[in-house]
């Protein structure tokens, strides 16, 4: 009886994960307005991670970000990836399709936005100098709480978010 329940739980978890994966990969909203990025989330904490498929360190940290997302699945924390793939020359629909495939292959379940605006506008909005990856944590009001320029680790980001959650209680 217990083992049957365990099996059922496992099957349900897998199905939920697959559904999340499907939803994440198929919905890749486009925006050219950097301010729209924060509107994707209404959580207590929003973690914005700027990345691109051609950015090796960005790809390297993706598994860790996925781990962070899974860790906070039931908490008021949301990760939002911002793909910069569109800022380089290329046909938009083909590049976007490539990003979707990439996200699905990497089993990325957190939300992603396909940024189609000017890089300078995003740099101004997020106050960074173009180097990626960059990960910025915002509160619900859109106030920046912390940032990491360069690779984040699962343990480090979880610790940082837990501290911020504690502080905001």
């Amino acid at each position: 009886m217990v083992s049957m329940r365990k099996t059922l739980t496992r099957v349900l978890t897998t199905l939920l994960l697959l559904a999340a994966l499907e939803a994440s990969a198929s919905s890749l909203p486009e925006t050219r307005n950097p301010a729209e990025i924060l509107k994707v989330s209404n959580s207590k904490l929003t973690v914005v991670n700027v990345w691109a498929t051609w950015c090796i360190p960005c790809v390297a940290e993706m598994d860790d970000l996925r781990g962070v997302d899974a860790h906070f699945r039931d908490a008021d924390v949301r990760l939002v990836g911002v793909s910069l793939d569109d800022v380089l020359p290329g046909e938009r629909s083909a590049t976007k399709a490539k990003v979707k495939t990439f996200l699905a292959a990497r089993r990325v379940t957190y939300r992603n936005v396909y940024y189609t605006g000017k890089l300078a506008a995003l740099e101004d909005f997020l106050r960074f100098e173009g180097g990626i990856p960059i990960t910025i944590i915002f509160d619900r009001a859109g106030k920046e709480l912390a940032r990491t320029q360069g690779i984040v680790t699962k343990a480090g980001l979880i610790r940082q978010l837990e501290q911020l959650l504690k502080r905001s209680r």
Partner: protein
């Protein structure tokens, strides 16, 4: 005493490898002498040499630099014919990033037929002096050695989305003896891969 002097020298070398403040319009352009990857010969830039000069920090591997490669070459061809000097400088550390080696620079400049020197700033010192932050990052220097523009080449790496061709606009203004309308923009690209502290 000798040890202290050596330590000070070593420190000056190490700290020189990091970015100073980004130079702006009105600042004096620093001189430099670097090796041209095309032929291994030294090239010296002496500001105030009576020519308008363009100094672009770029590299071999950054996707933004690659996206702008053809544009830089075509700008070079167009404006060198009008008497403007062009210097492309690769400031990335090729120890950590072998793709930025002199050999690879030579291959790239040969494949793309660079009409201007492609210079190796092996210790990132020149990039530090200009306060370059990213590749590509452009500086335009007037005939008296004063910077008149710094920032991006164009406001988009996608030619079809270009709205502001800042570098060529600055050059056109200077060649026509007009004031440069936009003297600064926010350069965008890949962070410079600074030479690690000694």
């Amino acid at each position: 005493m000798i040890r202290a002097a050596f330590a000070l020298f070593a420190l000056s070398i190490a700290t020189a490898s990091f970015a100073g403040p980004e130079l702006a319009a009105g600042d004096k352009a620093p001189a430099f002498s670097l090796t041209d990857a095309r032929n291994g010969k030294p090239v010296t830039f002496r500001p105030a040499d009576g020519r308008i000069s363009v100094v672009i920090f770029t590299c071999n591997t950054c996707p933004y630099s690659k996206a702008f490669e053809d544009r830089i070459v075509s700008l070079g061809r167009a404006y060198m014919g009008k008497g403007v000097a062009f210097y492309a400088i690769n400031p990335n550390d090729d120890v950590q990033y072998p793709g930025e080696s002199m050999k690879k620079m030579k291959s790239l400049s040969s494949a793309k037929k660079y009409p201007f020197p492609y210079l190796k700033d092996a210790s990132s010192v020149v990039a530090g002096q200009y306060g370059a932050r990213v590749t590509p990052h452009a500086f335009v220097v007037d005939a008296t050695g004063v910077i008149q523009y710094r920032g991006y080449i164009d406001d988009s790496a996608k030619p079809e989305e270009r709205e502001h061709t800042a570098l060529s606009d600055a050059l056109d203004s200077m060649l026509a003896k007009r004031k440069v309308a936009t003297a600064a923009s926010r350069a965008f690209g890949c962070s410079i891969k600074w030479k690690k502290k000694a």
